[in-house]
């Protein structure tokens, strides 16, 4: 997983030299490498386009899944666009977060690719401010405690 993130950053269309990464070296995700790369890159594009630095990529085990988070420190998604009373909402489709010429497709792509790999895509506010876009993908190692 750590290697895949490093490759994503190197191949990204964005200047990712300032992006920090936190990922356990033995974390392995069960996903198509191309899909994983597109998920991370689309989230990074979104963070650079609509968020503010510092941008951070994190990956941690969560039961039998791996949670990949791309965090920025911008304005975040307005509360009115989030599902109320929910700590984690499906990836939102709001004008301020749209990319791909304003069509919102970048985040739709992430959601579709995550689901095609047996996972999900979520949004969570980054406390105290900013966005945390999450892809939850199956772990190759099975459940961890």
């Amino acid at each position: 997983m750590a290697e895949a993130i490093t490759q994503c950053l190197a191949a990204s269309s964005q200047d990712t030299s300032s992006v920090s990464v936190s990922c356990s070296p033995d974390l392995v995700v069960l996903a198509d490498p191309l899909h994983l790369g597109r998920i991370v890159d689309n989230y990074l594009q979104n963070a650079f386009k609509y968020g503010e630095p510092p941008v951070r990529v994190e990956a941690t085990a969560l039961g039998d899944m791996v949670e990949i988070r791309v965090l920025d420190h911008g304005l975040g998604v307005p509360p009115s666009s989030r599902t109320s009373c929910s700590a984690s909402s499906p990836v939102p489709d709001v004008p301020s977060m749209r990319d791909k010429k304003g069509t919102g497709l970048g985040l739709s792509i992430v959601r579709g690719l995550a689901e095609a790999n047996g996972g999900q895509a979520y949004y969570r506010p980054n406390v105290p401010h900013g966005s945390c876009f999450i892809a939850l993908l199956p772990s190759a190692d099975g459940p961890r405690r």
Binding site: H35, K100, T103, L105, I109, R111, G112, L113, A116
Partner: protein, 124 residues
């Protein structure tokens, strides 16, 4: 196995469509094209049963304009216009060569729509 032709010029969307069809083993992506002109050639070569057709493509011809020509060379194919442009809906409603219309933001519906069209094919 139902052969699928993907006509899309955005690499990310191409990858997404391939990933979506990989979830159902009854479908096989038999060809990729990024322009209407290439789609016409591929439609003859591949003889697809499902065509996922973008509207804004490389080259001068739009997908919605190419649909009747594609249908003429691949008459058994069911064409799904998969676009980010809502303003094509009215035109598609009156175009018999397009079998289904879907916005790209509704990609979760792509596989169910294709399955439904494939089911119709099996009945014909």
């Amino acid at each position: 196995m139902k052969a699928v032709l993907i006509v899309e010029d955005d690499l990310d969307i191409q990858v997404l469509i391939q990933a979506i069809f990989s979830m159902d083993p009854r479908f096989s992506v038999a060809g990729l094209a990024d322009s209407a002109e290439e789609a016409l050639t591929m439609a003859i070569e591949v003889d697809p049963e499902i065509i996922v057709l973008d509207d804004g493509l490389k080259g001068p011809m739009r997908g919605v304009d190419a649909a009747p020509q594609i249908k003429a060379v691949a008459p058994r194919a069911k064409i799904i216009l998969f676009t980010s442009h809502q303003n094509t809906k009215a035109r598609v409603d009156t175009d018999p060569s397009v079998d289904a219309y879907l916005l790209k933001t509704e990609s979760a519906a792509l596989l169910p729509v294709a399955q439904q069209l494939a089911h119709l094919l099996a009945l014909i």
